[in-house]
């Protein structure tokens, strides 16, 4: 009996003993770099910067929404269920539950969080070239915030730190003006350090930072600042329009003299539908492709983002940019020598007969399977033609009509059509549509210039200027954020 008591005693002690156990149970993940012991070398900074660039590759979503929400195109696709969120945006029936808007919200926050992670640790070590890395991180943060503020207006502003769940619940939406101020600061600081040339292809340049800054001014109707910023890019940047408009959107002709900032893609890594943001390829060209197409020049795709008759008709028949921007498929097929053998299918998500001819899957630009997801074609975020048109707009608004007209006519002359005399700002707006249709700018141009209600069926003034904050995000942030007006 005594023995029994002894054994139970020992076991009882074991049961509630702690210190030895802690050591046994504190297992570290083997051979793994932790988030807290990072930023030990210059290379660590470079790798973190690469991670922050990664989220740019979600650009296809901005492109789609920027076009589909506007009068330029319809959602298309296999059925009305196929990316439902885009169909709702197309019909201006979108609300707080929209997976595509939510993706966009998430991706841009992920991007700026990665930039913040680097900037949070910017003072850990010193090395030559760190200032450029920090500048690029600021550029990226500004880029992501600009996307957010452009789509959603007021968004919580988080700077130079990561936050935890508790802290997230306490944050409110920051007024758009403050977000814009931060974007301007970041871009100004970045531009001061960056250079125009001599960079590894894919990195943001001084020209990219300044052009984005100019655009940010323009979106706030700060025409004076915008004009001077664009003037600086035009004067210092060494950019020029390339001769042939038809060469602008090919993979082979990327990073030319007109390139101000591209999102870089590669066709060399496969991908799956489960995670669009994991892709290294551009999803837009494949998705814009012709459904089950069997014929020359183009590859087959998912018939997304189809240009409208309205857009097609807006062009003068003499403007070569019409057919370079919009593929009239039946006309194209009819012109082929073996027209009868060419086939394609129509998606139940809508059909206009037109396809986006800038970002479209072409034979010769096909990535690895599944090649709907793996196009190597870069997304042109800002090209010099856009800079010239934005400069023209800023100068016109400032009253400098002559310079504005000269800038617009640079664009028209490259396109191979006659120059115009500017009679109103509308002429510049129209020129933007001709030059930049299919590139994701149209909706935001219509909104910032006050034309949206007259051009977009179903557009309600005072509501549709901004997209709704995804309802789930409001709930997950503690339910205290106000929704955008009208939603």
């Amino acid at each position: 009996m005594k023995k029994t008591v002894l054994y139970f005693g020992i076991l009882g002690m074991l049961l509630f003993m702690n210190s030895a156990c802690d050591k046994f149970l504190a297992v570290d993940p083997p051979y793994t770099q932790d988030a807290e012991n990072f930023f030990q070398t210059a290379e660590d900074y470079e790798r973190a910067l690469t991670g922050a660039y990664d989220l740019l590759q979600g650009s296809f979503m901005s492109l789609w929404i920027g076009e589909i929400a506007s009068d330029n195109s319809i959602a298309g696709g296999e059925s009305v269920n196929d990316t439902q969120g885009l169909h709702q945006i197309d019909e201006m029936t979108h609300g707080g539950v929209n997976l595509d808007l939510r993706s966009l919200f998430r991706w841009n926050y992920a991007g700026l969080t990665r930039a913040n992670y680097l900037l949070e640790n910017k003072d850990k070590i010193d090395f030559v070239g760190k200032d450029v890395i920090v500048a690029e991180a600021k550029f990226l943060r500004a880029y992501y915030y600009f996307e957010l503020v452009k789509f959603f207006g007021d968004v919580p502003l988080i700077i130079d730190k990561r936050i935890g769940i508790e802290e997230a619940l306490a944050l409110d939406r920051t007024p758009a003006s403050e977000v814009y101020a931060q974007i301007e600061t970041d871009l100004t600081e970045a531009a001061a350090v960056m250079s125009y040339t001599g960079l590894v292809k894919g990195h943001a340049t001084k020209g990219a930072a300044l052009s984005l800054l100019g655009k940010v001014y323009l979106y706030q109707n700060k025409f004076v600042d915008a004009a001077s910023t664009f003037d600086q890019v035009i004067a210092e940047g060494g950019y020029s329009l390339i001769g042939d408009y038809s060469e602008l959107f090919t993979a082979a002709n990327e990073n030319n003299t007109e390139t101000v900032f591209d999102v870089e893609y590669s066709g060399l890594e496969g991908g799956g539908y489960g995670c669009y943001i994991c892709l290294e390829g551009n999803a837009a060209p494949g998705f814009h492709g012709i459904r089950q197409y069997n014929g020359p020049v183009y590859g087959d795709g998912n018939s997304y983002n189809l240009p409208t008759q309205d857009l097609y008709d807006a062009f003068a028949a003499t403007d070569p940019r019409r057919d370079l921007s919009i593929l009239d498929l039946d006309a194209f097929i009819a012109a082929q020598p073996n027209a009868e053998s060419i086939s394609y299918a129509i998606g139940a998500g809508g059909h206009t007969g037109y396809y986006n001819n800038k970002y479209i899957k072409r034979i010769g630009e096909i990535g690895l399977p599944d090649n709907d997801l793996t196009s190597p074609v870069n997304y042109r975020v800002i090209r010099y033609a856009d800079v010239l048109l934005m400069a023209a707009e800023a100068h016109y608004q400032k009253g400098n009509t002559g310079l504005a007209q000269q800038l617009v006519n640079q664009i028209r002359s490259r396109a191979g059509i006659q120059g115009i005399n500017l009679s109103s700002i509308e002429d510049i707006y129209r020129e933007r549509r001709f030059e930049l249709s299919g590139e994701g700018h149209r909706f935001f141009d219509l909104v910032r210039t006050g034309q949206a209600a007259s051009k977009i069926p179903g557009f309600q003034t005072g509501k549709h200027e901004l997209f709704p904050i995804p309802q789930a995000e409001i709930d997950l942030a503690g339910g205290n954020w106000s929704q955008n007006p009208g939603y």
């Binding site: 023995k3 046994f24 990072f38 690469t50 989220l55 969080t113 769940i165 619940l169 995670c275 139940a348």
Partner: protein, 1030 residues
């Protein structure tokens, strides 16, 4: 011995010749066909008696047989008396008198008699598992016990099942803890266990499983393997069967002619040109015929058991092989097993129990259950396309994107997985005295796995996702590794080697003593130390020569400079440190109480909440032992109650830490450049899920023939280990990023279950037993994380939104969508409807306006409603055993009733083939109110609605078997003790209204259960087998 017998017989004859004596002989065996030595055989009312010899033979001499009765008696068996009459050769089968309630049940770290159990458990005998002739224990367990719902993940050879004890209690891992002779087995690893090696399975269902603490919340299954018997001569057995399997069902798909007619109509409705000028295309290709094959299954098991005075042993050898009904040997499972169970008394006080299990398995798999799976392709491939084009190549099925030729797909699939597994235990039991034992045991579970996937260059047609070549000439894609430097990828081989080792050391004392002959005190106290380590090295080699299987090995790769080849590895380490106490008290075999306390420390959690304390208590009252009790026909009547807390720690290792395992990849200089990113944010407060369970039960035995057990339980799980959505502003939704794992959400399961058994009393020629078990569980999500309305589950169709959810107030994974209310028959009906349904045309589905606002809203939840769930209302198992003389007949039925299945294997594309039901589609007013019109144009008929939800209830004859025992008299001549031959069939019939291949659809993810993507069905199998005992 035989000579002696002969001599004896001769003598007897001699004697009888003189005095007219009569010799009666025969042999005695038990129900299991084991011969019984030393059985007393006596003439009733006299002292004349003999004993059976070592082989169970006896011979007794009597004077006269008139009115003579022989009595057969052996300790532990029911005494049998037989009126001799004219019989001279009497073989007797004695029936064990040990009743079920005296059987020993293994509970955690100890044993207890069924009679004294305070917890809710269910026991299954090894023979009931073995009889099913299935590859895996979990498959065989389906329908055998109440409270345990088993659904099939895949009917392919080696496919796993889901074991759900008392419902789904979490969003994450619902698998129970499975212990084989005390060694932790995960349900994935059950492929290694030979069902023929199992002696018994005991399922701990209620809070008394809490002795296993942080791993017990999903219940515990204790498997014991076969062992020997002290003082028994070696018994050698062979069991084998061979069977042929085929698909139990084919879908009713359109023939080419039907297809052409229907597609023409659909295109016309869509304002498109009709694709078929000529619809007289006949039957066309039957793709199902091309992929379903009749394939073999066979199993061979040898065993030897026995024992000497101090040692008992059981040795087993097994071989099992099975090809799939889809793809034949491309979908294959085979296994070799070896087993040794040995118990020996080292000294009079020290005993060694040793178990060693070895298995070697091979599994080949095809893509299953999902878009891109062989069966999904088969269903959607259209019948007017030949399997091969006239030039001999496989057809491309180009009109439907994402659908590839399933025959070509099977041919190009090369997938192997091997595993070698060593599982064992060395257990030392030291008895200080009669009351007090000290057990130390060391368990190991070592698995070495190897996988290989060969991906040849293949071409399935333009734009197909599965292409690995760039064109039909099988040219290789080129990869740019640096500016303008291109390398050929070629065919590739992926290989993986991984090893896992679990080591457990357990030390505990058991104390058992009766004081004053009424107070029984039992206690168990001990510690357990567990460690699991895993590591893997894997790699891919490119440019395999000649695109040939002959060189399908990394060693043969010809990747230039090895630039494309890549390697990867991982390693993990997890630990569990536990202590446990159990105290039991019994008074006069009437009242029993038991209390358990377990403390676990788990390396899965951070320093803030690493340790958990899990208490539980239970009690039982044997009413039938009370003095006042006087019901004669119910000799045994017991009530039980239990309540306790257990945990679930089944999440990934290091989930509480933030790691740089995100994906931060960008393209610089046209080269894919690797960066870093945080994968999942940290959560240092992460802890286990907690389950609190209450159980009220009753057991009784009536008329010695009827056993009845019933339980009512309430099982509430809190702090679910969850990875719900978090706010985007945490920034965790980049590539390779995911939300942190947190504790949130609650689930409740309430249920009622019973088991009813009837068996005839022993000693009759006809033995019959009937068992019925019944389970009903109400599953409900009672809490979701704050700010989260629901957790989305499986999606419907392609990009069709989420069809299943985890949402408060509903079952886990319930289906939500629009409800169908017939078909709009004409334009008037649409125009006059009180509810506006945008875009509706005659022939379209009319949806129900759930919120009554007069508009069908397709963009939010306001008109979506509950459409069912994959959780059955109740499940039932029924088994029947009949034995008459040498014949036996058995049948096992399983029924699951009240669950729904989402028909999600139809590719909604203009040219995809369709099921035969579309023949009854709407074609004009009054033609159909069930199936909408077909159109290639814009329609909402294809959104997720009740139209795609089917009743998944089914009743299945899981196994039917008819056997015959060859008479001993014949066998003795060939010196064989027993031979049973039988024919058997699995899944002979299934009664269901479900249209798909198989209604028994499970998924390890609770939110994808009941979504049918073209499920790999269970085979219908016809088998013949033999069991020989030497």
């Amino acid at each position: 011995m035989n000579k002696l017998l002969l001599l004896f017989t001769v003598f007897s004859f001699g004697f009888s010749a003189l005095s007219q004596d009569i010799t009666i002989q025969g042999f005695v065996s038990n129900e299991k066909n084991e011969t019984l030595p030393f059985v007393s055989v006596s003439v009733k009312g006299t002292n004349n008696g003999v004993r059976t010899d070592f082989d169970g033979n006896y011979s007794i001499t009597v004077r006269d047989t008139a009115g003579l009765t022989l009595a057969y008696y052996f300790n532990g068996y029911v005494k049998q008396e037989i009126l001799v009459g004219d019989q001279r050769n009497i073989n007797v089968v004695l029936v064990s008198e040990i009743q079920d309630i005296d059987e020993i049940v293994v509970v955690g770290y100890g044993e207890v008699k069924t009679k004294e159990l305070t917890g809710a458990t269910s026991k299954v005998k090894g023979e009931d598992i073995e009889k099913m002739n299935l590859a895996r224990m979990d498959q065989a367990l389906q329908g055998q016990v109440s409270g345990v719902n088993i659904s099939t993940n895949s009917g392919s050879p080696g496919g796993a099942s889901n074991i759900r004890i008392r419902g789904l209690s979490t969003f994450g891992d619902n698998d129970p803890l499975i212990l084989v002779d005390g060694v932790v087995y995960d349900s994935e690893g059950l492929n290694a266990l030979n069902p023929s090696d199992i002696k018994s399975i005991n399922v701990l269902k209620d809070a008394t499983a809490g002795i296993y603490g942080v791993r017990a919340a999903n219940g515990v299954i204790i498997v014991e393997t076969k062992n020997g018997k002290i003082n028994s001569k070696p018994k050698i057995q062979y069991n084998g069967y061979y069977g042929v399997q085929q698909t139990a069902r084919r879908l009713d798909l359109l023939t080419a002619e039907e297809y052409a007619v229907i597609k023409n109509e659909a295109f016309a409705f869509g304002d498109q040109e009709m694709p078929f000028n000529n619809t007289a295309l006949g039957v066309g290709t039957n793709w199902q015929d091309s992929i379903f094959v009749s394939s073999p299954v066979q199993s061979h098991n040898f065993s030897m058991t026995g024992g000497t005075e101090h040692t008992k042993y059981s040795i087993g050898l097994g071989y099992f092989t099975q090809d799939g009904i889809v793809g034949g040997d491309k979908s294959h499972f085979s296994r070799y097993n070896a087993r040794l169970n040995l118990s020996t008394d080292i000294t009079s006080k020290l005993k060694l129990n040793s178990v060693f299990l070895y298995s070697n398995e091979l599994r080949n798999t095809l893509p299953e259950s999902g878009i891109g799976s062989v069966l999904y392709n088969t269903i959607n491939a259209f019948p007017n396309e030949p399997i091969r084009t006239p030039d001999g190549n496989y057809s491309y099925l180009e009109e439907v994107s994402d659908i590839i030729n399933p025959v070509a797909q099977i041919e190009n699939q090369y997938n192997w997985g091997w595993a070698d597994k060593f599982v064992g235990k060395e257990e030392f039991v030291y008895s200080f005295n009669d009351h007090f034992t000290f057990t130390n045991r060391f368990n190991y579970n070592y698995a070495q796995t190897k996988g290989k996937v060969f991906s040849p260059l293949v071409w399935y047609g333009d734009g197909k996702y599965a292409n690995t070549a760039v064109n039909a000439d099988l040219e290789s894609p080129l990869v740019e590794i640096a500016d303008s430097i291109f390398l050929e990828r070629g065919a590739s081989v992926y290989e993986e080697r991984a090893s896992y080792i679990d080591l457990t050391f357990e030390s505990f004392v058991n104390y058992d003593r009766v004081f004053d002959s009424v107070h029984r005190v039992k206690s168990t106290a001990g510690i357990s130390v567990f460690q699991r380590k895993g590591e893997s090295l894997n790699g891919t080699g490119f440019n395999i020569p000649n695109n040939s299987l002959d060189y399908a090995d990394i060693s043969a790769n010809q990747a230039e400079g090895g630039f494309l080849n890549n390697v990867n590895s991982w390693e993990f380490n997890e630990r569990l440190l536990s202590a446990f106490l159990r105290a039991e008290y019994g008074y006069k075999s009437k009242y029993f109480v038991s209390a358990i306390l377990r403390r676990d420390g788990s390396s899965k959690f951070g320093g803030n909440s690493r340790y958990g304390l899990f208490p539980s208590g239970s009690a039982a009252w044997l009413m039938s032992e009370e003095n006042f009790y006087n019901l004669d026909f119910i000799k045994y009547w017991k009530f039980r109650v239990s309540y306790g807390v257990s945990g679930n720690d089944q999440i990934a290792n290091f989930a509480y830490r933030a790691l740089l395992n995100g994906e931060g990849v960008y393209v610089f200089n046209d080269i894919i450049t690797q960066g870093v990113a945080i994968g999942r944010p940290s959560n240092p407060d992460l802890k286990w899920e907690t389950t609190r369970q209450f159980n009220l039960g009753m057991d009784l035995t009536a008329w010695r023939r009827v056993d009845f057990t019933t339980n009512f339980f309430v099982k509430n799980t809190f702090d679910l280990l969850f990875q719900p959505d978090v706010t985007a502003i945490l920034g965790s939704y980049g590539a390779g990023g995911y939300p942190p794992i947190i504790n949130a959400g609650d689930v409740s399961n309430q249920g009622f279950e019973f088991e009813l058994g009837y068996r005839t009393l022993p000693g009759k020629d006809l033995f019959a037993s009937v068992d019925l078990n019944f389970t009903t569980i109400r599953n409900k999500v009672t809490g979701v994380p704050s700010g989260v309305d629901f957790i989305p589950g499986a999606s419907f169709s392609i990009g069709g939104g989420v069809a299943t959810r985890f949402e408060e107030g509903y079952e886990i994974g319930y289906f939500i969508g629009h409800e169908m209310d017939g078909i709009f028959q004409n334009q008037e009906e649409i125009d006059n409807a009180t509810v506006v349904q945008e875009g509706a045309q005659p022939g379209d589905i009319r949806f129900v306006d759930q919120n009554g606002d007069g508009v069908i809203n397709f963009n939010d939840d306001s008109d979506r409603t509950y459409l069912g769930s994959a959780i059955p209302d109740f499940t039932m198992g029924f088994s029947l055993n009949l034995k008459y003389k040498g014949f036996d007949l058995s049948a096992n039925l399983y029924a699951a009733v009240g669950q729904e299945i989402i028909r999600n294997y139809e590719r909604q594309q203009p040219y995809a083939n369709q099921l035969g039901y579309v023949i009854n589609r709407w074609t004009g007013e009054g033609t159909s109110n069930e199936h909408p019109r077909l159109t290639t144009g814009s329609t909402r008929n294809t959104i997720f609605s009740s139209y795609f939800v089917e009743d998944g209830s089914f009743v299945r004859l899981r196994n039917a078997q008819f056997g015959y025992n060859i008479p001993k008299s014949i066998l003795r001549k060939i010196k064989v003790e027993a031979v049973r031959v039988y024919v058997s069939a699995n899944n002979l019939f299934t009664l269901t209204r479900y249209q798909g291949f198989d209604p028994d659809i499970g998924a390890s993810n609770a939110l994808s259960a009941g979504v049918d993507y073209g499920f790999y069905p269970q085979a219908k199998t016809f088998m013949g087998g033999v069991q020989i005992t030497f």
